[in-house]
Symmetry: C2
C-alpha cells in the first residue's frame, strides 16, 4: 500500500474493539512455573488464592491452556469510553532523527488515569463487583494504577483503598487528589496502618518505600477486612491477559494497512504493558507463523531482567504474597528513588521472564538522564509529553531508529507509549535544572536484595 | 437513524479535518464594531496593528466579509497530530441523571496543552514564522494557552515568552514546567520586567494579577524587542476564526448521523472556544437555515455578559491595547482568585458581544462550587477529569438535561469540553476539603472596574 495513504493516527472503529482477550500462555511450550504458597512452598491452590483475589481472576490466573477469554459486555461498555486507542505514525520524530526507519506508537495515555492501567483496572473492578464485594485494596507506584483503579471503582460503586509508594506520594501530591476526585482513599507506604508496614519502617526508617512494600500492606489490609479483596496492577498473568487488548488492537490497526513490524519495544516494570503489547505477535512467533524482535526496556537503577536472577522469589517485600519464578533482584531489593516510579519493582512477570529465558525476547537497561533526553525530543516533535516510564521505550525506539540511519535499513519499529507525564513535572523540572543523576546499583547492593531469602529455581 | 448505531465517540477521518476556517462575521448583519486606537480613539489602521500583531493575522482580524479562509498545509499537518477530536455521546452521564435528553460533548483536551488553545496557537506561530520573526510574547491565565503556544513554537522553532497571571503561576507550578519542556520562558505577572507591570504593582501591591495585566506586559515586551510580535489566545476575532475548526468538526460529525442539536453550550472567558464551537451553527441561524439555542456560561465571579456593560473598553488593564466594543466589567476590574483562571477576563469577544446584544445568544453565570460539583459527577461517570473552565459548560448542560427530566423532553444538547483538569488539582483539593467558597462581586466592586475609563458606546 502506498505510504501516503497511511494516516498519522490509525483509529479502529468502536465495533473493532476486541471482544476477547488473548492468553499467550496457551501457545507457550515452556509454561511459566506455578506460583508457590509461601507457607508450604507448594503450588498455590485456587482455594487459597481466593482468600486474596477475586474468584474469576484466580481462574484466569491459573488457566494456561485456554487461548481466548470473552470480555464481558460491562467491561466492553467501559472500554468504549477511551478505546480503541490510536496507533500513531511518528512522522515528526522520524523527520527529526533523519531516519529511514518507520516508527509507530500505540498510545494508551488518552484517558484520565493517563496510562494503559485502566484496561485491567476495569476488569478487576468488574469481577469484584460481580462477586458482591464491598471494595478492593491495592498498591500504586507512580500513581497511574491507583488512579485507574479509582476510576474503575467509581464506575462500579466499589470502595477503593490505595497504598501509594511514599516517594511517589511525596513527588506527586496531585495524583492523590485525582484519586480522591474518584472517591478513593490513599495512604503513603510504608505506613503505620499495617503490621508489615510497621515492620518495614522499623527496619528501614525513612525509606521512600517500593512497590514490593506497598503490595504487602495492601494484601494485609484486604485479608483483614470483611468483603474486600486485593487487586494488582502488574506482574500477575491475569493483568497481562487484560492488557492483551493493547497488542490485539495494535495488530488489527497494522493489518488494516498491511504493515508488518520488525521490532516491537516496550518499557518493563512488572511487565504487563509489554506483555500485553507483544502478546499476539509473540503468539505468531511461538506458532511459527511470523518472526519479530521484541525488546524489553528497563531502568538501569532497577534492572531485573538484565542483572537479576531467574529464581523463585516473593512477589512482595513483606513475603506475604506467593512466590513466583521470575527474573528478580530479590524481594529485599529497595530501588533508588528514580523518577520512573512505575518501573521500581524487584521482579518481572513470570510469563515474560520465561520468554526471555528461552531467548524469545531481548532486554536492555537505560539510564534516566538519557530517558528524559528522549522524552523531551519526543514531546517537542510529536506533541505528547510522555511518562518517564513510557520514555524508556522511546529511548530504545530512537536508538534502533538511529541504527537504521547508519545502516540505511527501513525497519518498521512499533513501541508502546503507555502514558502521559502530566503528573511527573517534578522529574522534568529536575532534568531541566540539570539536577537529575543516574543511579546504578553496585553488585553489593544487588546481592543485598536476596539476603535471608530461600533461593531455588524449581 | 437508529440510536443504537451512534457510537460512544464519533471520530472523523483524517481527510475530514476541515481545510478552511469559517469567518462568522461574514454572515452577520450587525458587524462587530471596529477596534479603536487608544491614542486617537479612531478605528485602528492595519498599519498600526502590524506593529503589535503578525501581518496575516492583522488581515484576518480586520476582514469581516470573507466567509472562508484556507488553512495552510503546514498548519493542517500539525492538526493531524491531535485532530480530528472526538464528539462523544455522554451515555453514562445521561444515565446517572436519568434524563431523556441526549447529551454530546466535543472534547478538545486530548493534546498535551490540555485544551482547544492549540488550534489557534499553531496558526499564530505559523504566521509569525512565515513573517520571519524571531519569537512571540503572550499572556496566559490558567496556563493552557501558554502551554499551547510553547508547543506550537517548539514545532516551528520560535522563541516563546509567556507572562503568566501570578495567581495561576503559584497554583500551578507544574504548568510552568510543561512550558519549559517545550522551551518557553515564563514570568509571573504583574512583574518588574515591564513598565506597565511596575505601575500595576505600585497601585495594587500583592495582587494576584489578571489576564488584562498580563496582556499589557506581553504587548510591551513584544513591541520593545526586535523581531517579536504579540499573540493572544482569546478575545480577538482572528482567534475565533481559528477556533471555528471546533464547530466545523462538530457539525460534520453530527451531520454524519443526522443529528440536529437543540441547545449548544460553551464556557465563556474571552469567548474564543464558544465562538468557535457555535460559529457554523450560528451561521445557519443568521442565514435563516436553521434555529438553535446558544448558551454562554460564565463564572459568577467574573460576569461580563450577565452583569457587564456593552461599551468600548481597553482589551487590557494597562490601556496599551486597542479598545473594543464589548460586554465588559471595565478593564480596571480585578476578578477574585477563582480557580477557573482561564475565565478571569474583564471583557468578551466583540463578535459574541454583538450576537448577545442582538438577542441571538443567551448567557448565564454560575458559581464555582456548583461548577465543581458538576465536574466531579462528570469525571466519575464519563471518566475524563474536566478543567474548571470547561466545567462551567458541564454545569449548564446538566441543568438543561435536568429540565428535560422534569418536562420529559428529549432535547439534544451539545457542549464544548474544552480541556482537562490535570493541572487544576489544587482546586479540586480545595473543593473536596470543603474549603472552596463562591465569590460574588457586589455592585460597588463592579463599578470600580470602570473607574477613570472613558465610557462610550459608539
Amino acid at each position: 500500500m502506498n505510504e501516503q495513504t497511511i494516516p498519522y493516527k490509525i483509529y479502529l472503529e468502536e465495533d473493532e474493539i476486541p471482544k476477547q482477550w488473548y492468553n499467550l500462555r496457551a501457545d507457550m511450550q515452556n509454561k511459566p512455573a506455578p506460583l508457590l504458597d509461601p507457607e508450604t512452598m507448594q503450588p498455590m491452590s485456587a482455594e487459597k488464592l481466593r482468600t486474596v483475589f477475586c474468584e474469576e481472576l484466580v481462574q484466569q490466573e491459573l488457566d494456561d491452556t485456554t487461548p481466548y477469554f470473552d470480555i464481558p459486555v460491562e467491561i466492553r461498555d467501559f472500554y468504549k469510553m477511551y478505546r480503541p486507542s490510536p496507533l500513531t505514525r511518528a512522522y515528526y520524530l522520524e523527520k527529526a532523527l533523519g531516519t529511514p526507519a518507520k516508527i509507530y506508537y500505540k498510545f494508551e495515555g488518552g484517558n484520565t488515569s493517563g496510562s494503559h492501567k485502566l484496561n485491567s483496572a476495569i476488569a478487576q473492578a468488574y469481577y469484584a463487583k460481580k462477586q458482591g464485594l464491598r471494595g478492593v485494596t491495592t498498591e500504586t507506584g507512580a500513581g497511574q494504577w491507583g488512579t485507574a483503579l479509582s476510576m474503575a471503582c467509581a464506575y462500579f460503586d466499589l470502595d477503593c483503598r490505595v497504598y501509594m509508594v511514599k516517594v511517589s506520594y511525596e513527588q506527586k501530591p496531585f495524583r492523590r487528589e485525582v484519586m480522591r476526585v474518584y472517591g478513593a482513599s490513599v495512604t503513603p507506604s510504608p505506613s503505620e496502618t499495617t503490621a508489615v508496614g510497621r515492620k518495614i519502617l522499623e527496619k528501614h526508617p525513612g525509606t521512600g518505600g517500593s512497590l514490593g512494600c506497598a503490595i504487602s500492606e495492601a494484601v494485609e489490609a484486604a485479608t483483614s477486612m470483611e468483603g474486600y479483596r486485593y487487586v494488582l496492577g502488574s506482574v500477575l498473568t491475569q493483568v497481562m491477559l487484560h492488557q492483551s487488548i493493547i497488542g490485539l488492537e495494535t495488530k488489527a490497526a497494522l493489518d488494516k494497512y498491511g504493515i508488518k513490524p520488525d521490532i516491537i519495544i516496550g518499557c518493563a516494570g512488572g511487565g504487563s504493558n509489554l506483555g500485553g503489547l507483544i502478546a499476539p505477535f509473540m503468539g505468531e512467533k511461538l506458532r511459527g507463523e511470523a518472526d519479530y524482535r521484541f525488546i524489553a526496556v528497563e531502568p538501569a537503577s532497577c534492572p531485573s531482567l538484565t542483572r537479576g536472577r531467574f529464581v523463585y522469589d516473593y512477589c512482595d517485600t513483606g513475603a506475604v504474597c506467593p512466590l513466583a519464578k521470575m527474573y528478580t533482584l530479590g524481594s529485599n531489593f529497595i530501588p533508588a528513588g528514580t523518577h520512573a516510579g512505575g518501573l521500581r519493582y524487584h521482579g518481572m512477570s513470570p510469563v515474560l521472564s520465561q520468554l526471555y529465558h528461552d531467548g524469545l525476547m531481548e532486554a536492555r537497561a537505560v539510564e534516566q538522564t538519557s530517558v528524559f533526553e528522549a522524552a523531551q525530543l519526543f514531546a517537542r516533535t510529536e506533541g505528547t509529553l510522555p511518562a518517564p516510564e513510557s520514555s524508556h521505550a522511546i529511548r530504545a525506539a530512537i536508538d534502533e531508529a538511529l541504527k537504521c540511519k547508519e545502516t540505511g535499513e527501513e525497519k518498521t519499529i512499533v513501541f508502546g507509549l503507555t502514558g502521559t507525564g502530566y503528573f511527573d513535572m517534578f522529574a522534568y523540572q529536575r532534568y531541566n535544572d540539570g539536577e537529575m543523576v543516574d543511579y546504578l546499583p553496585n553488585d553489593e547492593e544487588l546481592s543485598r536484595g536476596f539476603e535471608g531469602l530461600p533461593i531455588f529455581d524449581s
